[in-house]
C-alpha cells in the first residue's frame, strides 16, 4: 500500500494510486447479475481527469465544495476523485433523504457543484425550495435522452481535454463535510480534514490490510463514513478493487460473493441477521444425519479457532459454506449499530470472522474494532492504533461516557462553534455513548447518554430531525425524545422514540387526536417513526428564545413518571 504518512491530502494519495497500479482492476459495477462497468486504475484516471478538467474550466477551485447525491456506483468514486484532484471539498449526502432535506443540506454546505443521478435530480426539481438551489454546476448521470434537465449538465458529456492541474492541499485543510444528522433544522456538518482520513486509513489497514487482488463489496451507501473509508479510500490506496452492487436484494448480494470472489464486505446488523437467518434455515433443512455431521464439523472448527481465526482450516472443514461466500472471504465488518454477540459467534464458528466495530462520523469513522486476538463478541473491540479512549465520570461499575482523542477526530461542526465546544472538550470528543474498558482494553457498550436512537439498519435518528412532521398537531406543545434518554436504560437494542404531549387546558386526549398523531407518524419513513406517546401536565421549560430545554424537561419527566405506565404505544 501507499505510505500515507508521506501524503498531505487524499487527492495526492489517490493520484499516486492511479499511477502505481495502472493495470490493476479498481472498480466493478454490477446491476443484479449484469456487469455494467469494469475499470483499471489506468482507465479510472482516463475517465476522471477530463471530468476534473471540465470542473476546473467551470471555475471550480481550491476549497470549493461539491456535493454528491448518488447510489453506490462507479461514477460516485470517479466524481469524488475529480473533486479532490481539483482541490475541492467533498460533501457526500444521503440519497435516501427526502428532496427537501437534501436541498436544506445543499444550502447549508454552500455546495458550488452538485453531482447526482437522474431520478434524484427529478425529485429535487419538483421539490419546494428547488428555486433556492445555489449550486452553479449540476451534473446528472444516466439522464434519458431529450430530457429537460433545467440547466444541469449530463455527467457523461461534461469533460474537457486539457490536462487538469493537480491542486495540492494541506493535511489540515477541509477534505469533506459529512452530515451526521440535522435535517430538522440544525444540521451537524462534520468537517473532516485530509489528515483525519489519512490517519484513519493507516490505522484500519494496519489491522485489515488490502492489496492488489483484494475485492471489497460495497453495499452500504458511499456517503456513509464507513463505506467512504473502507469502500473507497482504503482499497484505492492499496491497489485493491471495489465492487458496487446497485441493488441490496439478498439474492444478488449472495450471488456477488461467488461471482466476484469477494475478500471483505461491510454490513449493518440488520443485513447480518438476514444472512444468519438464511443460513440457519438451510442448516435446519438438512437431513438429520447430514445435520449431525455438519454440527460436528462446526464444533471442531470452534475448537480449532478459539485463539484466532484460521481461514485455511475453516475452509477445509466447511467447504460448502465458504464456497457459498465465494471462497476468498477473509472477514465481514459490521458497524453502524449494535450487533448481538450470538450472531457474531454464529459466523465465527463457521470460520467467517465478523469484525464488529464502534464508531461515529465525528471520530473519523471507527473508534474500536475487533481484532480477533482473541475473538471477543461481547465487546466492540479495542481502540484502533492512534485512538485514545477514556471513560469519563465512571460509576462504581466503571461505566461512564466514552471520550476519544486522535488525529482522526473531526475538526469541528460546520458553522456551529457552540455545538463544537460542547462536543470537543480539551481535545476530547465526547461521544454521548456509555461504555466500560475491561482489563484487556476491550470496550463494552451499555447505552447512550445522548438523546437519539440507532436502528438495526445503522440509522441514527435524532428527535429534532423528525419533529417537523408533528408541527401543527392540535396540542399546546410537544417534544420528541429517545425513550432511553428519558429513562436511562443499559441497552443498545430495541431503542424507541416517544412524543411527549402537553394538552391545552381542558383538552382531553381524543380519538381524533390519536388519529392525527398516527397519520402524521405514518408520513415518516418506517425506521424514523415514534413508538408511543406520553401525556405531560405541565408547561415545558423554555429558554429566553423559547426553545424547549430538553434536558430539563427530561429530568422533570424522569422524576415524576414511570416508563412502564407513562408510555402509551401507538
Amino acid at each position: 500500500m501507499l505510505d500515507l504518512s508521506r501524503y498531505d491530502s487524499l487527492g495526492a494519495a489517490l493520484r499516486d494510486a492511479l499511477e502505481r497500479w495502472p493495470e490493476e482492476t479498481c472498480l466493478i459495477e454490477a446491476d443484479r447479475d449484469r456487469e455494467r462497468c469494469r475499470l483499471t486504475y489506468g482507465q479510472f484516471k482516463q475517465v476522471a481527469l477530463p471530468l476534473a478538467s471540465a470542473l476546473e474550466r467551470s471555475g471550480f477551485a481550491a476549497g470549493d465544495r461539491a456535493a454528491i447525491i448518488m447510489t453506490n456506483q462507479s461514477k460516485w468514486l470517479i466524481s469524488a476523485y475529480a473533486v479532490f484532484h481539483s482541490g475541492g471539498v467533498l460533501v457526500p449526502l444521503d440519497y435516501k433523504l427526502t428532496a427537501s432535506e437534501q436541498l436544506q443540506l445543499l444550502a447549508h454546505s454552500k455546495a458550488r457543484v452538485l453531482v447526482t443521478e437522474y431520478p434524484i435530480w427529478s425529485a429535487l426539481m419538483q421539490a419546494e425550495g428547488f428555486r433556492d438551489l445555489r449550486a452553479k454546476t449540476v451534473l446528472v448521470t444516466e439522464a434519458p435522452p431529450e430530457t429537460d434537465l433545467a440547466g444541469a449538465h449530463r455527467w457523461e458529456e461534461f469533460k474537457a481535454t486539457r490536462e487538469p492541474a493537480f491542486v495540492p492541499r494541506q493535511r489540515t485543510d477541509m477534505a469533506c463535510i459529512v452530515y451526521s444528522s440535522g435535517t430538522g433544522g440544525r444540521p451537524k456538518g462534520c468537517v473532516m480534514t485530509h489528515e483525519n482520513y489519512l490517519e484513519q486509513c493507516m490505522a484500519l489497514t494496519s489491522l485489515y490490510p488490502f492489496w492488489p487482488g483484494v475485492r471489497y463489496l460495497s453495499i452500504l451507501p458511499t456517503n456513509h463514513a464507513i463505506d467512504f473509508m473502507v469502500g473507497f479510500i482504503g482499497p484505492f490506496t492499496c491497489g485493491a478493487a471495489v465492487v458496487h452492487l446497485r441493488t441490496l436484494r439478498p439474492e444478488y448480494v449472495r450471488e456477488a460473493f461467488r461471482r466476484y470472489k469477494i475478500t471483505y464486505m461491510t454490513l449493518v446488523p440488520l443485513l447480518l441477521k438476514n444472512l444468519e437467518k438464511g443460513l440457519r434455515e438451510r442448516f435446519a433443512a438438512l437431513p438429520a444425519h447430514k445435520r449431525m455431521l455438519f454440527n460436528g464439523l462446526v464444533a471442531v472448527n470452534h475448537l480449532l479457532t478459539r485463539r484466532r481465526p484460521r481461514l485455511e482450516v475453516s475452509r477445509r472443514l466447511l467447504p460448502q459454506i465458504h464456497l457459498a461466500f465465494g471462497g476468498e472471504l477473509r472477514a465481514l465488518f459490521v458497524g453502524g449499530a449494535f450487533t448481538e454477540p450470538a450472531t457474531l459467534q454464529f459466523f465465527y464458528d463457521l470460520g467467517i470472522p465478523v469484525a464488529n466495530a464502534y464508531g461515529l462520523t465525528e471520530a473519523g469513522t471507527v473508534v474500536t474494532l475487533n481484532d480477533f486476538k482473541p475473538f471477543r463478541p461481547d465487546t466492540v473491540g479495542k481502540p484502533l492504533p492512534g485512538m485514545e479512549v477514556r471513560i469519563l465520570n465512571p460509576a462504581p461499575d466503571d461505566v461512564g461516557e466514552v471520550a476519544v482523542r486522535s488525529k482522526a477526530v473531526m475538526s469541528h461542526y460546520l458553522d456551529d462553534p457552540e455545538r463544537t465546544a460542547e462536543t470537543i472538550v480539551n481535545g476530547w470528543l465526547l461521544t454521548g455513548d456509555l461504555g466500560r474498558l475491561d482489563s484487556t482494553g476491550h470496550l463494552q457498550l451499555f447505552g447512550r447518554k445522548k438523546n437519539m436512537i440507532v436502528t438495526a439498519e445503522g440509522k441514527n435518528i435524532y428527535p429534532e430531525d423528525i419533529e417537523n412532521v408533528f408541527e401543527g398537531l392540535p396540542v399546546k406543545e410537544f417534544c420528541v425524545f429517545a425513550a432511553n434518554y428519558l429513562w436511562p436504560e443499559r441497552s443498545m437494542v430495541g431503542e424507541q422514540l416517544v412524543v411527549v404531549l402537553r394538552l391545552e387546558r381542558g383538552q382531553s386526549f381524543s380519538d381524533a387526536l390519536l388519529e392525527e398523531l398516527s397519520s402524521r407518524n405514518r408520513r415518516l419513513l418506517p425506521f424514523k417513526r415514534i413508538s408511543g406517546y406520553v401525556l405531560w401536565d405541565e408547561d415545558f421549560p423554555r429558554t429566553a428564545s423559547m426553545k424547549i430545554k430538553r434536558a430539563a424537561l427530561a429530568e422533570q419527566i424522569r422524576g415524576r413518571l414511570d416508563r412502564s405506565q407513562a408510555v402509551v404505544a401507538l
Partner: protein, 80 residues
C-alpha cells in the same frame, strides 16, 4: 392491460400469500411495513416476487419512500 385497481389487488393478494396474512386484513392504503410487520429487506424480497409476477424490473430506489400498496402499484403500473 391491467388497470391500476387490478394491479393493486394483485399486489395485496401476493403480499398476503407471501407473508401469510389473511387477505381480508389488508387494504390498498395500508402501510405495508406496519401491517405486515416487515423490515426494509423483507420489502425488497416482496419487490422481487412482484417483479417476477408482473414481468417488470424495478430498481431499488423506486420504492424509496413508498410505504403503501397503492403507491407501490403505481410504480409497477408505470412499467407495465
Amino acid at each position: 392491460m391491467r388497470t391500476l385497481e387490478q394491479t393493486t389487488e394483485e399486489i395485496v393478494g401476493l403480499a398476503a400469500t407471501h407473508f401469510q396474512v389473511p387477505r381480508e386484513k389488508l387494504s390498498p392504503d395500508d402501510d405495508f411495513f406496519k401491517k405486515l410487520g416487515i423490515d426494509s429487506l423483507q420489502a425488497l424480497d416482496l419487490l422481487t416476487r412482484l417483479e417476477n409476477h408482473f414481468g417488470v424490473e424495478l430498481p431499488d430506489y423506486e420504492i424509496q419512500g413508498v410505504t403503501d400498496f397503492r403507491a407501490l402499484a403505481r410504480r409497477i403500473q408505470a412499467r407495465l
